[in-house]
Symmetry: C2
Subunit: 439 residues, 2 copies
Amino acid sequence: MRLSRFFLPILKENPKEAEIVSHRLMLRAGMMRQEAAGIYAWLPLGFRVLKKIEQIVREEQDRAGALELLMPTLQLADLWRESGRYDAYGPEMLRIADRHKRELLYGPTNEEMITEIFRAYVKSYKSLPLNLYHIQWKFRDEQRPRFGVMRGREFLMKDAYSFDIDEAAARRSYNRMFVAYLRTFARMGLKAIPMRAETGPIGGDLSHEFIVLAETGESAVYCDSDVLNLPVPGEDVDYDGDLTPIIKQWTSVYAATEDVHDADRFDREVPAEKKVQTRGIEVGQIFYFGTKYSDAMKAMVAGPDGVDVPIHGGSYGVGVSRLVGAIIEACHDDAGIKWPEAVAPFRVAILNLKQGAEDTDAACEKLYRELSDRGVDVLYDDTDQRAGAKFAAADLIGIPWQILVGPKGLAEGKVELKRRSDGSRENLSPADVLARLAS
Amino acid sequence: MRLSRFFLPILKENPKEAEIVSHRLMLRAGMMRQEAAGIYAWLPLGFRVLKKIEQIVREEQDRAGALELLMPTLQLADLWRESGRYDAYGPEMLRIADRHKRELLYGPTNEEMITEIFRAYVKSYKSLPLNLYHIQWKFRDEQRPRFGVMRGREFLMKDAYSFDIDEAAARRSYNRMFVAYLRTFARMGLKAIPMRAETGPIGGDLSHEFIVLAETGESAVYCDSDVLNLPVPGEDVDYDGDLTPIIKQWTSVYAATEDVHDADRFDREVPAEKKVQTRGIEVGQIFYFGTKYSDAMKAMVAGPDGVDVPIHGGSYGVGVSRLVGAIIEACHDDAGIKWPEAVAPFRVAILNLKQGAEDTDAACEKLYRELSDRGVDVLYDDTDQRAGAKFAAADLIGIPWQILVGPKGLAEGKVELKRRSDGSRENLSPADVLARLAS
């Protein structure tokens, strides 16, 4: 993409309304624009990041055997009356009447709708296990939306729902999502630690939150430093096999948010030199809730003995739009965002430090063409801004690799390759840069 | 994908509520489920088709130089008061009040919001031309939703918006979208004919509808048969070049829907043997509306002489979810859907005609693995249904290529390759099938 043809409205001033760094940087980097309280438009740069995160989530759900579908944003109020949550949900639910005065709502989550779909078609234990997910916009009418996409009202969530014949099978489904989440967040360059959690309005008795460690996080977190170095399962993890050793490994080391922190146990179990106290951001939560919805909504299947039993369910959420903010909270410095490569809007930026000069133009065009031809996501800053402004913009929007092309270096056959994560720089020939980035 | 692990709730009975063939077939093939009047959940099979259509639309928008972003589903009522459309829009607009009694609406289209985004950032003609698009769920509260996804209430639309300094430049933007639409629909295996159209509530004085020819279409269509054989621009079309010859070629041959049909001209200009009268379905519409929104909403940029002028705009819609129905209306027979390959949920189905027999199981597993390894989208029917039911299901859901693996053929080293579009069959070795489908 040529920057001269892109839409990247970078702000020079720090926006006053932004209280936290991710909100500030997303506005400054031209990633999004507020359209109403807690409701945002994703501008092209932000949209690219959102899509990359969504795709990683999708790939890991698919790998774990979940099936993607797509439920609508609007739901019938009557569906939520079946579970009893229509009245229970309170003012965070956006309630709507259509032209015929039928009561609708903008879905904040989909346990009821997916249970309705399930019970319409599935009649036998032979169709289980089944895990259905979608990635769809949700709405929660927060009393006081703030912190940008970290606590918005219209937000993008991946929510998966598992259906099993009994608790043992349901726990295997739960474990599959547990492992999928470990992989999902690790692929985004995040340390996300599973922590035992309260179940809240979803219900049930087993739940884990996945918490990204970030000093600017919303809640205090206590853990044993060993949990930071546990191995994340590889691509070859066998989701049909026994996952309990992985779950045991991850849940036996102390890690808790302040809500459930047990100071005595922390002192007793964790040696002083391994005590970590930091802050964290919730980016996912998984629940096993048993027969809560299947009892209320009569989602029954015939078991091997022919007798109908209510299915055992779980639900599994990832805050897709929230992750954009969470990654920035975990990956930034004073100059701007430092995107992990897997979610960067562009992997490489080419900065033409003397736009209009024959040699730099030719070298940049050649690199741009060669990198693009090899499938590298590259942003070519071909604007007539001065070099300093180009450096600042590339750092602000956080492109992992920056190729600085100036007349002095070119005279010696070199360009400069800068790595955003640590600021390291190397002088290399264009051919070597290409080999490095397109391998 | 193994069918035993997929979620494909095929209906044996014809659903009574479905009045048209695409609605009937989408329900029977387990592609979707109605959740409220005109509001559907996309089940896994339907979701796969929706995504393939969306991706073709995206690729052709990108190729034409449009930039993708994503606006929210909910909008502020005040934004629509600026253009005067809040009151004008009538009962089809879904109006919502949030917990603080602020007036919102579920966007039926986005001219106002994109103009608000544009005017916030763009100040100079130097940033033009600019074309921004998104693919997002919309809502129109139809008085009587029907015909499944063909006239739903919650529907997926691609809408692009162009911004130019004057009418001449705006017409160039219009022409780029015109050509992109020709390519988009052709890639989906559709004959979509651009026809001059009324502008309706969007406004302006120049508009074309893109009409898919289908005998079951919603409106009568009159055209010269020459328009059916015009060449569609290739991948290498130069969007920076002069597109007027292509536009002239496509607009000089008679083609009109009944709304604007001129019977006298049709008789005068079209020789009898070239007169075509059939039916059609609108799948896209493009508009040039000049300064309608920029005047009302003060979207001004400084021209080369430093004087602020209102920008000239256009908007360009594709009915992404409607296309799923439109393609079925154009591509089906009594046995079910006949998907064009580019949008098929799976390109290939393997039917194991004797599940559990050592030889057929082994041959199917090998084909399944080899096709999957080569990146072919394949559905392996590994269920214990009888052969007849497998044939019927594969035809109903419309998989373009079906590999029938039975014990008799295998004894001679052959499987049968069936093509859904014309029913043709060939006996081939598994190696030849692989070479044919994975090339």
